[in-house]
């Protein structure tokens, strides 16, 4: 039994200054969490109770599917990460340090290497497989922009599981069993989830899905089609466009276009100086060339130019997903200084990519040029002429210029066709709570995890990777289960099921509240008693609403007539019941 009179909690009426999203505000105001440093939080008693219950649900479902729990260290030596090249690849997101003997260590952002090595240590035969191991463990990632409380933290709790199979069919089977376990977890939590096709990103691998909680404040954008296609926008592929016949397209023509440094002004100038007869020029007729800076894992930087139709924006997350593990940023004027041929606002293909005068043995990569698939081969464009106040018309891709390759860079917009032909896409936002994917043999090859097969032949094991952000899921639950007044926890993870509020002064009220609490607890129902003596009923109701215990029992004026009030935080419903029947009536009230 928890008692408000001694519970380590102090509710706040004001939102914390650094909080922007509801879950963050309410978890701080309800004393569930406290910030220690950017993206690093302490769990207070109420928060830890919710977190533990959430972990228990995850653990139960993992155990139920036959996964076995282990616990790896958070502090790991450099060597295994060297073998897989990730010591370098991880870049600035990994916290690195040295011990007193100057040996290199890292704070594990993920544990692929450790799981692989552990299975290699113990197992040696196909008869040992399949095996699925998991842990619920603290992870560290030095995020550039920690945000929204525990939604994107730098120290956070994750469940990560890995499966080990002798062959791809086995991996598929384990993948789908794990997928069902994830569905069960989110069903138990009552959290709606969109399962999206995803890129496996820096991890390598093939089959890959994200479990997104659809939500306005989410950082991930995903799409869905009427025909059931669901994907993270990073994973959406553009259906290939047919090559166009450019036989009738005149030769490229440079045109003075003063002050046309934006697509909008360029279209206006084009319609003014070179009007079309069939229709007006549109943004879709212009080819925009966007310069980005890549920072490769080892630290070297590269300028890269991306060409896409002027009516589309670049989606940096799609670009990043395509270019991982490099980090990508928009190039700054400073970045451009070393390349005087790049005239801001007037960049065109004629000086970049395969056309670049800088291409040499020494600098084969200089000004790499990638084209978004919305640019069809054979299509003609208005684009920069690489001189101030000048554009070129009728520049044909495949005739007048080439690129170094294609890249999914343009933002996906509502109405785009799903790549599987299942209809126009709708765009939504969400928070990524889980990610499952077939990792394949990347780590088992790098770390030489082999077992003997049925024929006594040595075989590389194939792996699956299954992550679930535990602290982030807690935040998503808070996000999904709140109203203006505060949190409204689902019963399975609430810090208590019933909050008994004493709203009056007589000792008999407090005694009755205690007796009731014991009755509830005898039925296995967890109780938080608000037994504070000098706190008004108004404050107690406000705290009840803020803390989010799903049901309330008010022991107050009605007690003189032998009644208490049951309240549902979720529905707002209230009923007076005889105090002697409170526990029995509560079962009906809930139902």
């Amino acid at each position: 039994m928890l008692r408000m009179s001694t519970l380590f909690v102090r509710t706040l009426r004001e939102d914390p200054a650094d909080a922007e999203v509801a879950s963050h505000k309410l978890l701080v105001r309800g004393s569930y969490i406290r910030r220690v440093a950017p993206g690093i939080y302490t769990w207070l008693p109420l928060g830890l109770k919710v977190l533990s219950k959430l972990e228990t649900i995850v653990r139960e479902e993992m155990d139920a599917m036959g996964a076995q729990e282990v616990l790896f260290p958070g502090l790991l030596p450099r060597e295994p990460y060297e073998a897989t090249n990730r010591w370098t690849e991880y870049g600035p997101t990994v916290f690195k340090l040295k011990d007193r003997k100057e040996a290199d260590y890292l704070l594990a952002p993920t544990h692929e290497e450790m799981f692989t090595l552990l299975v290699k240590d113990l197992y040696s035969s196909y008869k040992d497989l399949p095996v699925v191991l998991y842990q619920i463990q603290t992870k560290y990632r030095d995020e550039a922009r920690p945000r929204a409380g525990v939604i994107r933290g730098r120290e956070f709790v994750m469940k990560d599981a890995y499966s080990f199979n002798i062959d791809d069919d086995g991996l598929d089977a384990t993948y789908f069993t794990m997928r069902e376990s994830y569905q069960k977890i989110f069903q138990r939590l009552g959290l709606p989830i969109a399962i999206c096709r995803a890129m496996s990103g820096a991890m390598g691998g093939s089959r890959s899905e994200e479990f997104l909680f659809p939500c306005e404040i989410g950082e991930d954008t995903f799409v869905r089609s009427p025909g059931g296609y669901t994907a993270n926008t990073e994973a959406v592929t553009t259906p290939p466009l047919p090559e166009l016949d450019y036989a009738g397209v005149p030769a490229p023509e440079p045109v003075d276009t003063p002050d046309a440094t934006t697509i909008e002004t360029l279209v206006a100038v084009a319609n003014d100086l070179r009007p079309r007869v069939d229709r007006a020029w549109e943004a879709a007729d212009t080819l925009k060339n966007v310069v980005v800076t890549l920072t490769h894992p080892a630290g070297e930087r590269e300028l890269l130019i991306i060409g896409l139709p002027g009516e589309r924006d670049v989606d940096m997350k799609r670009v990043e997903a395509s270019l991982a593990p490099a980090e990508v940023e928009m190039a700054t004027p400073e970045d451009l200084k070393a390349f005087p041929e790049l005239v801001p606002g007037y960049i065109g293909p004629e000086v970049i990519g395969p056309q670049s005068a800088r291409r040499s043995e020494d600098e084969p990569m200089a000004l790499r040029y990638l084209i978004d698939p919305h640019v069809a081969r054979g299509s003609a464009w208005i684009t920069g002429a690489n001189e101030p106040n000048k554009h070129v018309f009728n520049l044909v891709y495949g005739r007048d210029f080439e690129a170094d390759g294609t890249i999914e860079a343009a933002e996906v917009v509502a109405g785009d066709e799903a790549p599987d032909g299942s209809g126009p896409l709708e765009i939504a936002r969400g928070i990524e709570l889980g990610h499952i994917f077939e990792l394949g043999r990347k780590y088992s090859e790098a770390l030489d995890l082999k077992v003997l097969d049925q024929n006594g032949k040595s075989q590389i094991v194939t792996m699956g990777s299954y992550g679930l952000g535990v602290t982030r899921t807690l935040a998503a639950l808070a996000e999904f289960n709140h109203d203006e007044a505060g949190l409204v926890w689902p019963e399975e993870i609430a810090p208590a099921t019933v909050q008994i509020l004493v709203t009056g002064k007589g000792d008999e009220l407090f005694e009755k509240a205690d007796a009731l609490a014991r009755e509830f607890e005898a039925e296995g129902i967890e109780v938080l008693v608000d037994d504070r003596k000098k706190v008004s009923a108004g404050v107690k109701f406000k705290d009840f609403e803020l803390l989010g215990v799903p049901y309330g029992v008010v022991v107050g004026r009605g007690l003189a007539d032998g009644t208490v009030e049951l309240r549902s935080r979720r529905t707002g419903e209230r009923v007076e019941v005889p105090v002697g029947e409170a526990v029995a009536k509560f079962a009906e009230f809930k139902a």
Copy 2:
């Protein structure tokens, strides 16, 4: 139900090469733990089960005494540790790192600052107190010599609790309540414990006790007297000696003592050249001056000389405890080079301490000299004359030389008198599992944790600190509960209570074992079934003995006659029981 056929475990018949103590060997051989780096371990499924049960017992006793659980981050910012000066004081034992913005962080070796700041954040009145908070959390310490598996690790699990009281009486009361909780924890674990007076060391504070598990392989030495005095040797104080009358002692006399660089040779030479009439010279007549190097937290080094009777060795742990937070090492010949007046083997008081020619305004600390309390004021000594092959006789402490102070430096030996007069001390070794102490106001003052008292006056809160090494306690349990063949877990923390061994080939044996397992589990008894098909009975028995599940049920040849065998791993007892009564008979068998 656990099944050996799928359990992630592979027992080893050979001891691991790097293991010296039984618990380390057996935990590795039984696949409870695996080493990842020095002092850093992974917990495998069986190990994690035992660890979780141990954590549950600790949690239950903490909750029972009213402590509230929280969870602090492992990665902490520098600032709070600056305020208490511990960023520097901790020295090389703390892992430090920088984030991507070059901000300083540390991996928490302990969380005093965080607990203090959290209470300061939430509480403001004496009415809020007392409060006791605790966490069960991963700690990081860059030990110079990690050893013995998880006994001294660099990443380990600790329960740390802090109490906050308005006054000293309250702190005393909380201290004793916590002391009882610790006693209950170790009683539940069946682990014998010596509660020893201790130094609070680098932590500051006053009342301080360690919970030691007495054990030969322990790193801590403690003493006990027939009258019940128990103390860590670091905390043993030497009863003060009365001052001697040196009126009859002749003036100091330098004597040539060729090759007398050890106490043994010096005593022989003295008896040879200057025999006493009343008795022979003994080591106890010589004053040994030992040079140590102090490394202060900020990094500066200092030579310090300790004087003690020649028949006693220096106990570096006692010296370290006295000089904390400085680190102490024996000085090397290299260290002595800057001080030509220190002639190795012939160092005497006449050139050190207050007698040092180096004492000046600029260098007041040079060659500080501290005297062990076994050297009485007024006593006469044979000691070094600061020239090669020369000692001085009749050098009287307080007449011919002074020291800068006293230090408890000499080793405590069996037969020494207890400081409280409770008789001669016996020496024993142990592993420190817990440490409770009254921290007082060190942290609350440094971090300004004040509350308003009954009179509206601001008061500094007083704190208690209560640590318990969870992973180390697990190792102690393994150390205490093993025999030649393997581990023998106590039921409360065993990975399972009953191991069912199928020793035969018929399908009916495996089916019966499964049915029996379900019967046991229906009674709430946890079962590990050894259902491996191509494994011999001999291997199964060996694994049963190694893994340490306390009871076995053998389903084998007897089944034809309707019986199974119950075995106790602890007593070796075996009984045949009818298979239909196995569960009922098991209750009797255990009792």
